[in-house]
Point group: C2
Chain length 202, copies 2
């Protein structure tokens, strides 16, 4: 059983978070999911609808998997020292660190991606890559795996990445079963990324 | 601006709900999203993580779009008279009625799908079709449109359907922009359904 700590903050992107959590959550015997926030109040997503944290960053819960969604709200957290400290500490002791979309902005801000290959939302790619040059940014990838760090492109890419992560933590057959159960057409190739071209990156 | 009322109940399926709400929610000038529940307490999904209702069924808010996700929790609500009454009343005055997965079980239970073409999660198809014979169930379809009723197959099909609904309410170009922005590979053909075969229905 792995404990997954999924960070939420005001303006998190709904599908960044709940797409992957759907996938992990279907493996009830293997993953325990918790939403983590700075405080215990409900948090409004970019789409306004609100999620409820299960724990706060002060509770210092150990997570086997740390998960950071993206969204417009990441911009408001890049200088949040308490949050970046939590990310750094939790990343150090986690077995896996996952991010979707601009969630990698927060990982980069915490310094944990320095020297690592990683990707992000392709619309924001150029700006983020410029702000965090110590990260080895990959411009065309659905998701990137570098050691324990698994970072994906924008929004829907999180679901492909989550299944890829399940394949790593368990096996490909298990990931395929989850995809089938959720009637999801899984893009299994982590290098498939037509959106890099759409945004003029390649 | 259309007001979307998305019902949540204990054991709702996470991606049934939040996949479509991601899509509608990206059109901030066109859709106002509200989560509706029987009470105002946080509601746990099938994946345990909790969402927060914005309004309750007693508040009798008028919704232009009524949205019903599915999930294991639908089984627990099929005899919930207050909920079925709310579904019936809200359906009558809504411009569009949408469901994902076994959400159509609740629509069928409220009687609003009688004589209508509709679909549901393919794993539960046979059982549900047997329980509600007045509905004209379609066994192979990603989603079905019959007048104002738009019902989809399981879980991930909701995202394809939501984009289809956006194409109906606005236009296909708008739906494609939402798909591109969310880096989503939209299956635009509502008859595409390989999962019907997986579950032995065709």
């Amino acid at each position: 059983m792995r404990r997954v700590g999924a960070l939420i903050f005001p303006g998190f992107e709904l599908l960044d978070l709940f797409g992957p959590l759907e996938m992990f959550g279907l493996l009830k015997d293997d993953f325990n999911l918790q939403l983590v926030a700075e405080t215990s109040d409900p948090i409004a997503s970019n789409q306004q609808v609100r999620a409820n944290p299960d724990t706060t960053i002060k509770d210092s819960v150990h997570f086997d998997v740390m998960f950071i969604p993206g969204g417009m709200g990441t911009r408001g957290e890049v200088n949040n020292t308490a949050l970046l400290d939590w990310i750094r500490t939790t990343s150090d002791s986690a077995e896996y660190v996952l991010s979707v979309c601009t969630g990698s902005l927060l990982l980069a801000g915490a310094g944990v991606l320095d020297g690592r290959r990683a990707t992000t939302n392709k619309a924001a790619y150029t700006k983020i890559a410029g702000q965090y040059p110590k990260v080895d940014w990959v411009k065309q990838a659905r998701w990137v795996e570098d050691g324990k760090f698994i970072t994906s492109s924008g929004v829907s890419a999180g679901m492909d990445m989550a299944l890829g992560a399940i394949a790593l933590m368990h096996d490909r057959e298990t990931a395929k079963k989850v995809a089938t159960w959720s009637e999801y057409d899984w893009h299994m190739d982590k290098d498939w990324d037509p959106f890099a071209q759409v945004h003029g990156l390649v």
